[in-house]
């Protein structure tokens, strides 16, 4: 087995049904047992199709035309049953919301083995073994809803490992994870590697994988255009990496994203006289008249003593982009909901600069506009243009068209929003925010699962919104994006404001170090 490779693709091409262009063409690869292989490249380069070829979803679930031969662990994928392949290949998907079939952790871990008709006692023993291996014994029996994003992804890993498949496939596993969770995922994968599993990972965010991978396949237009060894990958020159459209391989490179922010002098102004000290930065922000003042934001869940959010004071510079960072569960999203005024139980006011008017919850509802994490929840209409018109304070088609023109979406005006790609949908949602003519625009995790090109596109959209005088608040755990798009950073920790500083050179460094710490450690 070891000399022929556990995964082999020979001249494979696949075209999805109802699509004209093939997703992958003439794809050849050979992966040996025990290797960790990274697939990278732009969105739409065929990475996900390759993972589906290995786990059998192509051609068994997604129909289309397949030529060439794929063999996995000695099985011919095209002629094997999908369920049989499941015994050999475990798959961890991108979205934790839709990969769990049951509602509790134990049931979820048992699911695969129950399908494979293992005796119940063997299943229980396997569950105990994997739970110990992934250090999630304390989670067993708990409802999956109650877990954090990182815990969910660990449970997903453990669940696919219970039937003990030799091959594991990860499809963008980090897109919904914060730094701590990515650190945990990295440890889980290195553990699996130690146990001799063969691992195939399709991923955009790369820094956490640099020390895990044995081989990197760079894809473009459905083909492998370059194969790198681990050493080549780690020492990939910066300009080459950027030309390939890849996200940073090393934590240090993340700071360079300031170049996207580029000539904006925004952070310079705020940083004037700043010594890099957190308290100084807070004060210099506070003293600026041109800043929204967040006063006494507090929120707690019903029947809970723990305060989820408790911010006595914070300043958000007007006409600038401010990043709200912190770990999952630090209260970032709650902060965004409170700022938008969506939650009745949230206390606190927002004081406008210049007028000094304090905006209560109901007023904030009509002075902020949130671009939600899952943009599918805010696309209601039959055409992109209608979507923009719906968000306008007064319906006005020519203004709406102008907004679309400004964001390069004019060509899509008559398309149905749901027929667009994920990135395009997001741009439509941002266009709707612009059309709402509200002064504050909030973006909730706008870059989960975006490749370098799209991430930069969103970052430059944020920049252009600030040039139009809008105040942008970006909730994110993506250090690359925060540095590329924002002028200042507010870090939340357990619902409290931990630090606030402008994103100048020192700030960039600090933010990058903070948001990647658990991986670097």
């Amino acid at each position: 087995m070891s000399d022929t490779g556990i995964i082999r693709c020979d001249n494979v091409s696949f075209t999805y049904a109802n699509v004209e262009t093939p997703s992958i063409t003439g794809f050849d690869c050979e992966i040996h047992a025990g290797q960790v292989v990274l697939l990278c490249g732009d969105s739409g380069c065929g990475k996900t199709t390759v993972t589906r070829l290995v786990n059998g979803l192509v051609p068994h679930y997604f129909e289309g035309t397949l030529t060439g031969r794929v063999s996995v662990d000695g099985l011919d994928v095209a002629s094997s049953e999908l369920a049989e392949l499941g015994k050999h290949v475990g798959t961890v998907f991108q979205n934790p919301k839709s990969q769990f079939f049951t509602l509790d952790v134990t049931g979820e871990m048992a699911f695969g083995c129950e399908n494979f008709t293992m005796p119940p006692d063997d299943i229980r023993a396997s569950i105990a073994r994997e739970a110990q291996r992934f250090d999630i014994e304390h989670l067993l029996g708990r409802p999956i809803d109650a877990l954090s994003g990182g815990q969910k992804q660990k449970v997903a890993c453990a669940s696919v490992c219970v039937p003990d498949p030799p091959i594991l496939v990860f499809d963008e596993p980090s897109s919904n994870l914060d730094a701590t969770a990515i650190g945990e995922l990295a440890r889980a994968i290195s553990l699996l590697k130690k146990h001799g599993k063969t691992i195939l990972i399709a991923e955009h965010r790369l820094y956490w994988l640099a020390n895990l991978v044995d081989q990197v396949m760079y894809m473009r237009d459905g083909q492998i255009v370059r194969t790198l060894s681990a050493d080549e990958f780690r020492s990939l020159p910066d300009h080459e990496r950027q030309a390939m459209g890849l996200r940073p391989v090393h934590v240090e490179d993340i700071e360079d994203f300031a170049s996207v922010r580029g000539g904006d002098s925004a952070n310079g102004e705020i940083a004037d006289g700043d010594t890099g000290d957190a308290t100084d930065a807070v004060h210099s922000n506070t003293d600026t008249a041109e800043a929204y003042q967040v006063e006494h934001f507090a929120y707690r869940y019903q029947h809970s003593r723990n305060v989820v959010l408790d911010i006595a004071h914070a300043a958000i510079a007007a006409g600038r982009a401010t990043a709200i960072t912190g770990l999952n569960g630090a209260g970032k999203s709650t902060f965004a909901r409170c700022l938008q005024g969506l939650d009745r139980r949230c206390r606190g006011t927002l004081i406008e600069p210049q007028t000094g008017r304090s905006l209560r919850r109901k007023q904030r509802l009509s002075s902020c506009f949130t671009v939600m994490q899952d943009v599918n929840c805010e696309l209601f209409c039959e055409s992109v243009l209608d979507e923009i018109v719906l968000a306008q304070p007064q319906e006005n088609k020519s203004v709406a068209l102008d907004v679309l023109r400004r964001l390069d979406l004019e060509a899509f005006a008559d398309r149905h929003p749901l027929s667009l790609s994920g990135g395009q949908k997001q741009r439509v949602a941002i266009a709707a925010a612009l059309a709402s003519e509200r002064p504050i625009i909030i973006l909730d995790e706008p870059t989960s699962g975006l490749d370098l090109r799209h991430m930069r596109q969103v970052a430059s959209m944020v920049r252009s919104l600030t040039h139009m005088g809008r105040t942008i608040v970006v909730v994110t755990h993506d250090p690359e994006f925060a540095i590329a798009a924002c002028d200042a950073n507010i870090t939340l920790e357990q619902g409290r404001l931990a630090e606030a500083y402008p994103l100048d050179a020192a700030g960039d460094q600090r933010l990058a170090a903070r948001l990647t710490a658990p991986v670097a450690a």
Partner: protein
């Protein structure tokens, strides 16, 4: 991929589960015999490690027993079966305290103690306050105490059943009772999909509130469309991804399917079923005039 095909997928799984249940039992019995008494403790600890009984406390019983208990509570306490015969009133009082005990032994001490205090409170009010209060206030107290003592026991019993039973146990049990698929499938789908649909609905609601008041003004048809369309498209997408995930994990591997849900009658089930049976026997005897 549509919702209906996802539902049929779930249906398929449940069908598989149904067929596989006796196999489960057989496998369990088999392994129990083979391993022998010495390793039963080890299996027990593996089970504890896999977290099975942790949130259920001391009193573990089969979902079918729970259904019978709740039915009995409803029959005697809620619908007052058996009428005013002396012995039936005693049965009813004993039954009313049963949920308190059940809750106390299944790690719901707060609810159990609270319920017991309520019962004692009602009794105190009925014996010491009611005789001294007349008129409409007396009638009001009488009606509310009467209604509460009638409804609470069955409600608390149902609460106990819900908090101590997982979806897979309930469905496994229903299948063994030969409940037809048209009933169990919607239950399975509801358990998995209701939370998802609710979360999506909440997000859609947020997006609509953010867009402001125009939704309020008269456009009922459009408002419905705006609510339903994203909900449907998102549900279909999630169902599609869920199916992919389930298929790569062997759904449909075999016609049969094993289950780690521990379903089966034990001593405690026998005891509880006997007690329930005793209630019905007492009813029968009073109806025949043997008991007063």
């Amino acid at each position: 991929m549509t919702i209906s095909s996802a539902a049929s997928e779930v249906a398929g799984m449940q069908r598989i589960g149904g067929a596989g249940t006796d196999r489960t039992e057989r496998a369990e019995r088999h392994s129990g015999k083979a391993i022998g008494g010495a390793t039963v403790a080890a299996a027990g600890s593996a089970c504890a490690a896999s977290g099975m009984p942790s949130y259920r406390g001391l009193l573990w019983c089969d979902p079918r027993t729970k259904i019978v208990v709740v039915f009995t509570l409803g029959c005697f306490c809620l619908t007052l079966a058996g009428g005013d015969a002396q012995s039936m009133i005693i049965v009813r009082r004993l039954l009313a305290f049963a949920p308190a005990l059940l809750l106390l032994f299944t790690r719901r001490r707060g609810a159990g103690i609270g319920y017991a205090l309520c019962l004692v409170g009602f009794w105190l009010v009925a014996t010491f306050v009611l005789p001294h209060v007349g008129g409409p206030i007396g009638w009001l107290i009488y009606a509310s105490v009467g209604m509460m003592t009638q409804m609470l026991p069955a409600a608390m019993g149902a609460y106990w059943m819900l908090v101590t039973t997982t979806a897979s146990e309930l469905i496994g049990a229903l299948q063994r009772m030969h409940v037809p698929l048209p009933i169990t499938v919607p239950i399975a789908v509801m358990f998995r999909f209701l939370p998802v649909a609710l979360a999506e609905q909440r997000a859609i609601n947020d997006a609509m509130r953010m867009r402001g008041v125009r939704f309020g003004g008269g456009k009922v048809g459009q408002m419905l469309e705006y609510r339903v369309v994203p909900l449907m498209t998102n549900s279909v997408r999630i169902a599609d991804e869920l199916t992919q995930s389930a298929l790569t994990r062997g759904l449909g591997y075999d016609k049969h399917r094993t289950s780690i849900a521990r379903i089966g009658f034990h001593t405690i089930d026998m005891l509880m079923l006997l007690l329930c049976a005793a209630c019905y026997i007492a009813w029968g005897l009073t109806a025949m005039g043997i008991l007063q």
